[in-house]
Symmetry: C2
Amino acid sequence: MPEQQPARAWRLVLERIERDLLDGRLGPGDRLPSERDLAADLGVGRSSVREALRVLEVMGLIRTATGSGPQSGAIVISTPTGGMSALLRLQVAAQGFPLHDVVQTRLLLEDAVVTALAERSARDLTAARRIIDAMERDGLTASEFLALDAELHLALADSSGNSVVAAMMAGLRTAIESYVQEGAAALADWESMAVRLRDEHRGIVEAIDEGDAAAARERIRRHITGYYTATGLTATDDRVVAHPIA
Amino acid sequence: MPEQQPARAWRLVLERIERDLLDGRLGPGDRLPSERDLAADLGVGRSSVREALRVLEVMGLIRTATGSGPQSGAIVISTPTGGMSALLRLQVAAQGFPLHDVVQTRLLLEDAVVTALAERSARDLTAARRIIDAMERDGLTASEFLALDAELHLALADSSGNSVVAAMMAGLRTAIESYVQEGAAALADWESMAVRLRDEHRGIVEAIDEGDAAAARERIRRHITGYYTATGLTATDDRVVAHPIA
């Protein structure tokens, strides 16, 4: 079984780096040992080290520099959103996660985000407002509009202050991006949908501003399910509305 | 820059497999083309193919068989929980996600799970009840007890029917497993904590059985924050209680 040994070797490398992270020997901004040093330290081949580094890269834990001089090598980064996006996108593609469950989870997280924002005494919605203004520009294509739309929802999640929720939301959105875009293409009248989405966004931020959590929750739910229903992304289903996790 | 080309090569392989999954040419249970065929098809080295396969394996998308005969090779699987666990564990280790945000997100998801279960007209809590009974056994160590505890929360999430939420919960729990275990070790009197946790579990399931969502939510929140506070995992903080996303 010649494949078995290398399979174990890359796990060794991954476990070593995870332990170094947990113990604080490695942290954000630090440079990993070189491929050669890791291979020598652990007694594995350089190809096994490279396999482990690819895993860490896709999971959003390291950035690998190009080149091979003293400036080359992998740096620990602390922007985990990319890893979550890659994971959820692949899982939806592989049918590991049904689209329906992804949509329900998005509703659940967005509900929590607007509730937290509305209930807070101080909040910074500058980023959200800037995006809402950008969405008023003439001549935006549906695709440009939807990119801003995704940014707006993420900006709200970011300002709610929970990085795990923000990363999960980014991941869920990425996972269903192609469906959202296809949905827009399927609409007979994109322009009136754009008008409606703009109004809904302003209504959501208004409810947050007024500290009205119940209204904010109701509006975000209608906003999301309304688009999904209009574009055929999900069936009209009362249970979707009544229970965040159906 | 000799490293740059291989870095692109493994991404090519990953994108090809993702496209095949999206287009339905590959699905759960299917066998991927062999390393040699993928390498030849895409004009990349076999080491690049292996790097992409490792990424897919850690993300919980494929299972790689050992051996090199006709039965060898990678099979598409649809159990994405492992990938989410690996991602969240690594992100917490790398301080990409603060522990506080992980705990808040867990509260949010558990709240949604018990709400959905309590509001449903029919539910199957067989698995949860079996675990609750197992937790009554004499002579369980703290570590065995906490393993059953984690299983119980996952069983509830599974029976709520949303696979994304269940995977996220499993991942969050794995990410903080070492802290939970350390917390138990720090307690002066584990036995009375075990008695309390058993009572709380029965109370939560009782509220779900009675369809009392408000009580179920209140009880799961107290149960989780109570343990975390008692073990020093999180500070006593009213905002934790008042706002799922602080």
